[in-house]
């Protein structure tokens, strides 16, 4: 299915801004990227973790992306032996891998379809689509939506009234964006993503719950990626705001009026409750729950499955994971959790009476 792409080591080296060590191999052609231990003689490999350094000995790769530090390690570990694989020295081998893989993918992409708007798509005549927007089969674009150049809307997507999507975006199949929401440039939304659903707001009256209309929107910055089936609710009165470069994994919940700072990562199955503000360059682990109406400063990491119940005012790593154990052991320990305070008091009394 994938087109075969052949590129020279010289090309690869230029893509990553690296230094190709070996003379004479510049014109060697490669066709894909693969892990160091599985790359074949016409594939590019990369060394991104020191624990895989020994794989340099036996790799069959055509060329390896590595750091100067890795190379120095080699010369130290094998002082009498030249590296038998061609090498491109880069500052950041993992980023270099991302760049090479991206270049392959870009070159393998199908050409734009001849019919950019699939005949089965329903595009309101009041929507404004840049010339080279692609709209898939059975997608729906409602009135006054504005879609930027090069953006591709997958089959079955629904883009609501007045939605604004920047250039070079990619909505995979079956994404839903509610009316009035705004996405920046180069935003990627995976299938099942819902942007702009109503926030969870109800006022109690006479034992029942009155719906509080959610009249805000969602504003998503540039270079954001949102994983499959993740939901970002619209603000109650204002906006829910996702900063530039934020990456959110699958099945996460971003409630109304949440603010997520630039370049923050949020892993799968996380739940961020309403009106909470998360800083820039944070890392929120999978399965994390964060309560509403708190502020988390820049540079915070929250371990997966941790429950954050109050503001985090200092950068750092925060954790609250109950260690698992064999079930029988857990059964012995479980009753004690309810009596920790008493244990502490008993210890205090013992210390006093000592």
């Amino acid at each position: 299915m994938q087109k075969l792409i052949l590129v020279s080591l010289q090309d690869i080296s230029e893509w990553v801004g690296g230094t190709l060590l070996s003379s004479g191999s510049e014109v060697k052609m490669v066709r894909a990227i693969a892990p160091l231990n599985r790359a074949t003689k016409d594939e590019v490999a990369f060394l991104a973790q020191t624990k895989y350094r020994e794989q340099l000995v036996s790799t069959n790769a055509a060329v390896v992306l590595l750091s100067q530090k890795d190379l120095d390690w080699w010369h130290h570990a094998y002082p009498t032996q030249a590296l038998h694989v061609d090498a491109i020295v880069v500052d950041n081998p993992y980023a270099a891998y991302a760049k090479v893989a991206t270049q392959f993918v870009v070159r393998q992409q199908a050409p734009l379809p001849l019919q950019k708007i699939h005949p089965s798509a329903v595009v309101d005549e009041r929507a404004r689509l840049a010339d080279d927007v692609v709209v898939g089969a059975n997608a729906v674009i409602e009135a006054n939506a504005v879609i930027g150049a090069g953006t591709r809307i997958g089959p079955g997507c629904v883009v609501g009234e007045g939605v604004v999507i920047g250039e070079s975006g990619l909505l995979h199949a079956n994404v839903t964006i509610y009316h009035g929401c705004q996405l920046g440039a180069r935003v990627i939304l995976h299938s099942g993503v819902v942007i702009g659903s109503d926030g969870y707001g109800f006022a109690p009256e006479h034992g029942a719950w009155l719906k509080i209309p959610q009249v805000g929107v969602v504003i998503v910055g540039d270079d954001v990626e949102v994983g499959a089936n993740t939901c970002i609710d619209r603000g109650a009165l204002d906006a829910t705001v996702i900063g530039n470069g934020v990456k959110i994994d699958n099945l996460s919940q971003i409630a109304h009026n949440v603010q997520v700072g630039d370049h923050t990562l949020i892993s799968a199955n996380a739940a961020i409750a309403g009106s909470t503000s998360i800083g820039k360059h944070c890392m929120i682990g999978g399965g994390t729950c964060i309560v509403g109406h708190i502020k988390i400063v820049d540079g915070v990491s929250v371990s997966g499955a941790t429950v954050v119940t109050r503001a985090l005012t200092k950068p750092g790593v925060y954790t609250g994971i109950l260690p698992f154990m064999e079930h029988a052991q857990w059964e012995r320990n479980a009753p004690v959790f309810r009596h920790l305070r008493e244990l502490r008091e008993k210890i205090r009394r013992l210390e006093k009476n000592k």
Copy 2:
């Protein structure tokens, strides 16, 4: 995009059943609702939490919705100073806010489309739709579905065979309802909601799992709202039942044969396992897990991220959150969790030997 709606303070006062204090201002016109500290001179504000009372001093709002208690506080705090903003005194300012916002939204709504059934929608000829049902582009309504007056089915929705939906409902885009499920009146389902998927039932035989057909349905009461990408499974033999006025947030899981009592709230990312019964007027926090086959009585609140492992027979608030800490501190404490029982025994011995 939103239509500008102008209404008088007199109208507002009638919407909320309140008392407009200021004489002469009845004809003052307003156009939106906003928080007290951001409302402009033609916006309605509301005071729903005492901690915001001081904002009364500097608000620019045209009028504020507040309680008699708030007003009394003002007179006590500022005995020599009249409230400089017009005021409508109500029993429940938060509910009043909901009502005013709803009135604005209703007036701003687009008129019904001329073509109520979009030409691209696929409506089986055996489906019965009340006269003013709206069906969006590329939606699918299968045989023998019955849809009540005023209900709007969004683009891309799939309404299965024999589904019954009451009047004045709203299915946002890309909702799926499996065959035979029943929704009451005024039900709101957000995008990605799945109602009536098979419950998770398998019988072990010879090391593999036999599927147990799920032949029950889902029955959803009146005035229920279900958040984006939430799933409610059909019963195995009987029905999964969601009571009147229940509000479920995004990405929650309601397993087969669960019963949820009237006016109960279930926040995002909650998981309720099979055959569990939750009472009326309960509040289930986000990220909560509730095991199957238990009964939770009316009036229970479960804090977010709590795991409920047995029946709750008394109303009250229940919590099981492991406090988070700095990671280094957690690493010191973590090993002790597996030895709590031993600690308790050591303390007992120490007490005895004292």
Copy 3:
């Protein structure tokens, strides 16, 4: 809506490979299956748990599926009294129930539609569909997809380029499968399932995150069922692999490069992080989080809501659930969690000084 199906006890007995005890009743006709305590005189009941044995006394069922052990119990408990209900003795009453219910469902199913490919479906001319494939309204099948005999694709599904689906599969409405993914035979995917979305992979560079293209696929074995709104990400370079007979519940996350062994169960709202390998015949409870890059051996059970932070090298049951308590009690205990290590040290000192 459901067709009435009448079958004889003799038929039922053959379906389950059981022994029909009562003479003369072979031709008795039944029409459905129901729990022992609610079955009517023309319904089949089953006794799958010993705690329901006493229901044999009063059941109105036409016939009961039970084990020899249950029958022996009856003769012991009621030595002077014959079982008043006809009985079919089977090895595994729960599996027998599954088989009978399946037979009823198969016979009640609607006949295949006359138009197997709904006219509104968009099927690329380069897709290859076996003769009796059914494609629902507004579904989209992209180029080079291959779909096996008897597979039904629900309304609104999107099957990407080059996807391979085996025979007798069932995709409920609004399922999305990304390009290149492969499903075995008899796979059931519930609505909102996303197969093959990009794994969550980003390389840090200059304070931002570079996307790592996810060029692997998802390979799903035979007889797999995946619950509503569950996501299975494609591999980064290789494949994410779901073994034969695996059953995954709703709203779960299977990250890139995960391997799930044959016949493993994964309950709702579970999150399995990238590159983790789960063995065969495991049971992963609801709401569980499992970290990435670990190996879990065959035959492991993980209790619901448990966080698995390291490899599990021995079969067994593992648990890490913080017991919930009344909120006031929790508030007393909560501060102690952060000081467990100190408590242990104090106890050690006390023991030493004793």
